[in-house]
Amino acid sequence: MNDRFAAQVRQHLLNTADERPADGQLAAVVARVAATTQRLPLVARLTWMPGRIGPFPALTVRYGLVAAALLVAALVAVLVGGGTATRSTVFEGTWLSIDPLDGSHQTLVIGGGNTPTVHFEDDLATGGACDDDVSKVYTAEGTGEIAGNLLRATFPEGGGCISRRVPMVGFFYRYRSDSDVLLDHDGVTWSRAGRPVVEASADLSLLPTGDPRFSSTIHGISIQYPASWETAPASQPWTEGLIDFGSASADVIFDPARGGGLYVAFASQPYGDLSADEWRARGIEPLCPGGGGGGAYGEWGVGGAEAFLIRCPSTEQAVFILTERRGYLLRLVVDDEEPGLSDTYNWDWLRPMLETVELRPEEAFDGLGPALPSEPVASGALPAEPMASAALPAEPFASEPVATEPVLSEPGKAELPSAEPVASLPLPTPPSEAEALPAEPVATEPPLASSP
């Protein structure tokens, strides 16, 4: 940062800083302090206590740590060496990543076979799971289930440091054969041990990248988009509802200058019990409520699959793409209150973008095991009856609005479902071939444990 720009940033921060505490904020802190006991000095002084400043207190502790580190390194070396020679699946072995949020080092040790053991470890958990613990090394033991290039991991006893375990759901790892890496549910890249670890990833969509391509980790689709636009990846499979700017189940590419006023949203799902044509026909209804298809309507091909164009008042352009077992919906939504916007962002604008679409239905992800409650629970105390995150409708594409889980935007506030009629969509197909994962939806809100 040059001096002038740095000075501008500094001046801006000083000008805009709001150093007034909120009403009652100090009183709330004092009240909580009054109800909280301090840790014993001996416990609080342990070396790995959060935020402790100062040298290690004892030589023996240092030597102990060095010995432990050497032991772990030796074990890793053995695992890596053995895995390379006798790997039974592409997942087998030790994988390393850097947590993009806190820079901690994460390790994943995956055993052999199609239902391998999975050991997860984060050397410095900064989430709340380990707040009460002396050690911040977060570990979890689980098993994996491999379907194609996807491994979903379940951790029946959750994960944690010492005193408590927290549920871990929504963990999956997709193998990328072109680069021999794993891409996880959070978009973090994992490298094989012994190879350079990919720099901790962060949202770099602001950086000029020339001709960017977005690859969905949920919906099995890849598409190029304008360099000045940004992306908001889906965090869960699409099981119901009309996809829009706020849908957690939609991948969204949007113009940062207009946000929800100009975007492309897309998602996919298996047909369930419907035929491809039935799925498409029922999908049109919520898109164009009361007005039928309306406007232009045509068919051609996208990504090698049959595609249908729909246009109606709610959507500038919508495209249904039909593969053998899976349907894709892609919406271009343009703010009709901004004059002339739809003259630019129309079919002529969208079509070249569609030509960059690559479909990978075999890589789509339709859900993991049943969602667990997101509140931390004690070790071994996970409920026997898992909570489903949303009830799926019995009738695919029912025309009545369906209540969906509100999305919390800030504590105590919730965004209500869209006023538009919401379609309920088909139940995912039973596990089969590459899409051989259970159909239950994943938890809407990632649990604390998902990023230790």
């Binding site: 940062m1 500094r10 505490p21 416990v43 935020g51 940004e230 935007s409």
Partner: protein, 185 residues
């Protein structure tokens, strides 16, 4: 300050309350800048203070209380971010273009608006390093300590933040017009 820390370390709640009163404003400002959410910022500050109170007996050097508090606050901010990161991607604030121009200060206002928008778009870890270095004026080593990451990581994050801010401002300059204010949802 040092006396207060020593007394609080010994379990004196009144002394800790005084410490909190002295620093809560600045810490809240930092949390607001990093999280850009008033409620989340208040929660993070409260969490940092509670963590500080509980662990204060482990702080050997009373003179390092402020640095220690900053680190606890940054950690609390990141914890808060983890709980809400999906929502964050949707918080896109647009700034109107039809605000009245203000004569000779127009350009300065423009750049500050652009910086504000650029900061809003930065990932939290990058924004945190900008706040620590440019608002609190911390040396990079202290910022690294506050964030609990190596010095090299702070350097690379600051570099990436700079790139991203510049890119955001450049992109902003390329947008010919805007259409009103609002938070996309």
């Amino acid at each position: 300050m040092r006396d207060l820390v020593i007394r609080a370390r010994g379990g004196d709640r009144d002394a800790f309350s005084e410490l909190a009163a002295r620093s809560i404003g600045r810490l809240t400002a930092v949390a607001r800048m990093i999280l850009r959410d008033e409620y989340a910022a208040q929660d993070a500050v409260q969490e940092a203070f509670i963590q500080a109170w509980r662990s204060l007996p482990g702080l050997r050097d009373a003179d390092k209380f402020e640095a220690w508090m900053r680190r606890l606050l940054v950690r609390a901010c990141f914890s808060s971010y983890r709980r809400s990161k999906r929502v964050e991607t949707l918080e896109i604030r647009l700034t109107p273009v039809d605000e009245p121009a203000t004569g000779g200060h127009e350009r300065d206002l423009d750049i500050h608006d652009q910086i504000e928008r650029g900061l809003a778009k930065l990932p939290k870890d990058l924004r945190a390093v900008v706040v620590l270095v440019y608002y609190l004026d911390l040396p990079l080593a202290d910022a690294a300590q506050a964030m609990g990451v190596p010095l090299g990581t702070v350097k690379s994050r600051l570099s990436r933040a700079t790139q991203a801010l510049r890119a955001a401002i450049d992109a902003d300059n390329r947008v010919p017009s805007r259409t009103g204010e609002g938070v996309a949802s």
